[in-house]
């Protein structure tokens, strides 16, 4: 069988190497090669998505497996993945190269490839060290895809760390003035979590041994009859959650995010916020929830509390930011809080809520689309004026009507206007939370107020109102004028806009993937 998933993962990596070897002066060749590779990968991913949509009797996603607490086997039905690839690597330690997809990973894989295409296209203005930049972008894509497609915990960890390296270089090498600080802070926060997860993975393989055989294969573990006692589950859950909580991030572990998001160049921020943050939520869903159901049940209130605090605190923080990227960064944490809340909307019996998970996954995709659009627009704006401070702007809608409209659409999508994409996901997720825990539901829903407020504040301060008399915006206008979105930039944003409307009107196809 053709190793489709491996191709999807390693095509960008190879493409990155090819890009590095192209002659430096052929700037356009370099750009179009990178973009072509990203496109090809997107097409392959779409192919897999279509194939997945065909009826197939055996696939049952992990997301829908009812979690049963207690001594019974954690899974009711056997868990399988589609398009599995399996290669023995270090069988003595249970380490194998195994890949597979289920509904959730199909969605996130396609999202990642789509966002890479968009972000590489948005990076056409990068001039400094272009080849390395694009190679790192493609490597980041490889790492992310690997995270979503790996079904062996060791392999998952390899990709998890692999995506950190390009992210570190991209933030630190092409970012703003405080890039080194931001990049190192980002990696250290992530590394603490990751290393704890590494300890957890080693321990997990150790506990799931039969005889002298260790295993780290997800399917084997989920279908095994070994049941970890609840203390072990608790510690392992915490070790895994450390990595995911930093990546998502949950609130006490979030302080790397505003720095990294605001210092990184806009397309990189879009990749980090749109795709990489989803890796954390995906980890919660795929590993924490299914591997340690008892611990998930016990700790769900804790995680939910942190998520609620994050939702409200970061929404309030977003209200007072003057830097547009920081505003979006805090809004991003707040929205991811809703996703986490949906994932951990367990019933009193410890059963995962179908709606909660449906909504969470839907929202992962939607948030990825919306936040990418927002960061890119802010990036385009900053490229014209050299400033991200809200105070410097005002009345831009007259000068930049198209950009103002696009920003408005993205903002409305972000605040969850019915008819646009985010509404369905957020609604479903919160519905799931309500069903199982009304308090968290109420608190989580409160976010709607500040979310509308800060987004409207963004649009209002930047695009409406009175134009400032002086400052960098006026200076930029005098120097070279303030062109509206050109055709290239518009084409970059177009797929995102189409999806914002399409998913808003017709979210069912996405929930189909989650439920199958």
């Amino acid at each position: 069988m053709f190793p489709m998933l491996s191709t999807i993962i390693f095509l960008p990596l190879l493409g990155g190497i090819v890009v590095l070897l192209l002659p430096r002066e052929r700037v356009n060749v370099i750009r179009w090669t990178a973009l072509g590779v990203a496109w090809l990968d997107l097409l392959l991913a779409l192919g897999v998505m279509l194939a997945y949509a065909q009826p197939h009797p055996t696939a049952i996603t992990v997301g829908t497996v009812p979690l049963v607490v207690g001594e019974a086997s954690p899974t009711v039905a056997s868990v399988t993945f589609l398009l599995q690839e399996h290669l023995s690597w270090l069988p003595a330690l249970g380490i194998n190269y195994s890949l597979g997809v289920d509904g959730v990973s199909v969605l996130l894989m396609t999202l990642t490839t789509l966002l890479t295409v968009v972000c590489i296209a948005a990076s056409f203005r990068v001039e400094q060290k272009l080849r390395t930049y694009l190679a790192f972008m493609l490597l980041l894509e490889s790492g992310l895809l690997g995270v979503f497609l790996a079904t062996n915990l060791f392999l998952f960890y390899v990709f998890w760390e692999l995506m950190l390296i390009p992210a570190y270089f991209l933030v630190g090498g092409w970012g703003g003035p405080r890039r080194v600080y931001a990049a190192i802070k980002f990696v250290l926060y992530t590394a603490v979590g990751s290393f704890l997860m590494l300890a957890g993975i080693i321990a997990l393989g150790y506990y799931y041994r039969t005889g002298g055989h260790y295993t780290l294969d997800l399917t084997t573990i989920l279908n095994s009859s070994t049941h970890l006692n609840s203390t072990v589950q608790l510690w392992l859950f915490l070790a895994f959650a450390a990595a995911f909580a930093v990546k998502v991030p949950l609130v006490p572990f979030h302080s790397w995010l505003p720095d990294a998001y605001s210092e990184a160049p806009a397309p990189v921020t879009a990749m980090l916020a749109g795709a990489m943050a989803k890796a954390g939520a995906y980890g919660f869903l795929r590993y924490c929830l299914t591997l340690f159901p008892d611990a998930a049940h016990r700790l769900a209130p804790l995680i939910s509390t942190l998520a609620v605090i994050g939702i409200l605190y970061c929404a309030l923080m977003a209200l007072v930011q003057s830097d547009m990227k920081r505003l979006l960064a805090y809004s991003s944490i707040s929205h991811l809080g809703v996703i986490t809340l949906g994932i951990f909307a367990l019933s009193a019996q410890g059963l995962a809520s179908q709606q909660g998970i449906d909504g969470a996954v839907l929202q992962m995709v939607n948030h990825g689309i919306t936040i990418t659009a927002l960061f890119l627009i802010v990036g385009f704006l900053e490229a014209r004026t050299g400033t991200r401070r809200l105070e410097d702007y005002g009345g831009m809608a007259r000068r930049l009507p198209i950009m103002a409209s696009v920003l408005m659409i993205a903002c409305l999508s972000s605040l969850g206007l019915p008819g646009l994409n985010s509404f369905a996901g957020e609604f479903l997720a919160l519905l799931g939370v309500f069903r199982n825990n009304a308090i968290f539901g109420v608190l989580g829903t409160l976010v709607v107020v500040p979310a509308a407020w800060y987004m409207i504040r963004l649009v209002q301060n930047a695009m409406m109102g009175v134009r400032p008399a002086g400052g960098p915006v006026v200076a930029a206008e005098r120097k070279g004028g303030l062109p509206d979105l050109d055709i290239g930039e518009f084409l970059v944003l177009l797929p995102l806009l189409v999806l914002i409307f399409y998913i808003g009107v017709h979210p069912l196809p996405l929930t189909f993937f989650v439920e199958h």
Binding site: S88, W89, L90, P91, A92, L93, T132, F154, Y157, V158, E161, L162, L164, I165, Y168, F169, G172, G173, R179, V180, A183, I184, V187, L188, A191, V192, F195, L196, L198, A199, I202, A203, G205, Y206
Partner: protein, 587 residues
């Protein structure tokens, strides 16, 4: 007692790798005499060709490697010379790591030697191979006598190699310091051996599962209670070994020696000595002294934890890349000691596999620095490395690759090695060591990434500052030339004439005489001064490298090390780990 000494041909075959190395070392001394010589005075006289001898040395290492592989396949794994030297798979596995490091060190050498005009190549490569031989002997020793023999062979050769750059004070200091402290540690070790001999009546280790050549192991199996004599002996042995593997609190020599020694030598010794000493440490403690494990395990546990925590903490504050790597190697010794504490087949296998991975990563990192190091040992500070990516992107890329590997990022070898070691810790019932190891790795990540940030994310020094420094250095160079302190240094290596601060004073003193030299140099550099600061910096660096037509060897070495590190982390572990597991059983 009568003793008939008959060494069979099989005995010689079992130490074939060592024999090859010894032969080639002698051959190198001979060939050195036959090569055409240059240099006016005897202390500057040496072979004019910088390629023949390293090639010969490399062939020697490859020959030894081939012999090792042959022994793997057809060897009987028995001990040679009545149980004095092992030819078991464990020793052979250690040979792989030692020979890889030696090979890489030799490949990095010619460009370095030529650039720094170190002409005494015959001695250099012969000593290099002698040190390798000593390391292999130490790793394969199955008797305290052979162990000491190997230890002294490698140490004596390395004392000289560390002080090889005679025109550099820090190099001489490194040699001297290493000599004094290391002899001290050897004395401890020897006294420990004497006491153990007193307690057990034998210096032979004795093999597991056979009573062919009974030794300490067999004695302890019969008398598992340790006497005071034995305890003191074990304590002294611990001190000696801890010094050799640079475990805290016996690490003081490491940073000074690693920093002062020539970078290719550091690349080799940081890995080779560590590999040999750790395998010997593991064999003596985790195998031979295993019956009395309760007596030493706590001590080694404390050593391991101290070394992991302390090494990483001390590395945090270093500003010089060589010193930083020295402390990081201390930290890695700490991780490796986990394997000694854990013991058993998995613990020992983890040590062996880790050493092999570490050989490629660390040798690669020091090899990259060897292309930067100047005669006065400058060039490796974080300040010097700033913006390296913009000046020499490939070198910076390689260095970053090795640093990331050392930090434990997949898919490089460092990750696989660490994973296996931590796994061994958990399996051996030491989850606390797993946790400490994991958390100290985070500390490690910070300093490696800080260095990478300096290379990739910070601009090179300000143009003005740079210009000032160049003029100052030129004045100093002139001063040096006039005073006759370091005549050969003044020309192309102008910047390297003296340390910058110390040079300022002499610069003014000799300024009058310096005018001419400086003026010449200035006219030469004048066009460069008008270029952008980055290009100019590049020009100076390449000026410093002028005359090193052999720089391709450095690239070759870096490429091989990178390839090895990548292969060990991705495709090879599946059988190298199995092999290590089998090898560990034979130690």
């Amino acid at each position: 007692m009568s003793f008939t000494y008959i060494a069979s041909a099989a005995d010689w075959a079992r130490i074939a790798p060592e024999l090859v190395l010894a032969g080639v070392a002698l051959l190198i001394l001979l060939v050195d005499l036959l090569l055409p010589q240059t240099g006016a005075v005897p202390r500057e006289r040496g072979a004019a060709n910088f390629f023949v001898l390293p090639l010969l040395a490399l062939l020697g290492v490859l020959g030894a490697l081939a012999a090792t592989i042959v022994l793997f396949v057809v060897g009987d794994g028995q001990r040679a010379f009545f149980g004095l030297v092992g030819s078991d798979w464990g020793s052979l596995y250690a040979y792989l790591a030692i020979l890889s490091a030696a090979g890489l060190g030799i490949i990095f050498s010619p460009a370095y030697l030529k650039r720094l005009k170190l002409v005494h190549q015959g001695e250099y490569y012969a000593l290099f191979l002698a040190a390798t031989l000593g390391m292999m002997l130490l790793a394969a020793a199955t008797s305290f006598m052979t162990l000491f023999l190997g230890l002294e062979t490698l140490s004596l050769a390395l004392y000289i190699l560390c002080g090889f750059v005679t025109r550099r004070q820090s190099s001489q200091e490194a040699g001297m310091k290493y000599f004094l402290l290391s002899s001290f540690a050897s004395a401890f070790l020897l006294y420990g051996v004497a006491l153990i001999y007193g307690a057990t009546g034998t210096t032979r280790f004795g093999a597991r599962g056979t009573s062919a050549f009974p030794g300490v192991l067999q004695f302890l199996q019969v008398h598992p209670q340790s006497t005071t004599l034995l305890l003191i002996g074990i304590g002294l042995l611990t001190v000696g070994f801890a010094f050799k593997v640079s475990a805290i609190p016996f690490q003081m020599w490491t940073p000074d020696v690693y920093e002062g020694a020539p970078a290719p030598v550091t690349a080799f010794m940081s890995v080779g000595t560590k590999a040999a000493a750790l395998v010997a440490f593991a064999r003596v403690f985790a195998v031979v002294l295993a019956p009395v494990a309760a007596d030493w395990q706590a001590v080694v546990w404390v050593l391991a934890v101290l070394t992991m925590v302390g090494g990483n903490l001390l590395a945090l504050v270093q500003r010089n890349a060589k010193r930083l790597l020295a402390y990081s190697s201390v930290a890695h010794a700490g991780y490796l000691l986990i394997g000694v504490v854990v013991g058993g087949a998995t613990g020992l296998a983890a040590i062996l596999f880790y050493l092999l991975c570490y050989a490629f990563l660390n040798a690669g990192a020091f090899g990259a620095l060897s292309a930067l190091e100047r005669l006065d040992n400058s060039g490796c500070d974080r300040e010097d490395l700033r913006g390296l990516w913009f000046r020499r992107p490939w070198l910076a890329g390689f260095l970053a690759f090795f640093l990331l590997g050392l930090a434990g990022f997949p898919p490089m070898a460092g990750f696989a090695a660490k994973y296996y070691l931590f796994f061994a810790a958990l399996q051996g019932g030491h989850p606390e060591l797993l946790l400490i190891g994991v958390l100290t790795s985070v500390l490690g990540m910070y300093y490696y990434l800080r260095l990478i940030a300096a290379m990739f994310m910070e601009p090179a020094r300000e143009a003005q500052e740079e210009a000032l420094e160049v003029s100052l250095a030129l004045a100093v160079a002139g001063a040096g030339a006039s005073a006759g302190v370091a005549p050969r240094v003044s020309g192309p290596l102008g910047r390297a004439a003296s340390t910058r601060t110390g040079g300022a004073g002499t610069g003014t003193a000799g300024a009058a005489v310096a005018v001419k030299t400086a003026a010449q140099a200035t006219t030469k550099r004048a066009p460069a001064a008008q270029q952008a600061p980055e290009t100019r910096e590049q020009a100076t660096e390449e000026g410093a490298l002028a005359g090193s037509s052999l720089s391709w060897t450095t690239w070759l070495g870096l490429g091989l090390a990178a390839l090895g590190a990548l292969a060990l982390g991705t495709v090879l572990p599946f059988w190298l780990v199995d092999l290590a597991l089998k090898a560990a059983g034979t130690l």
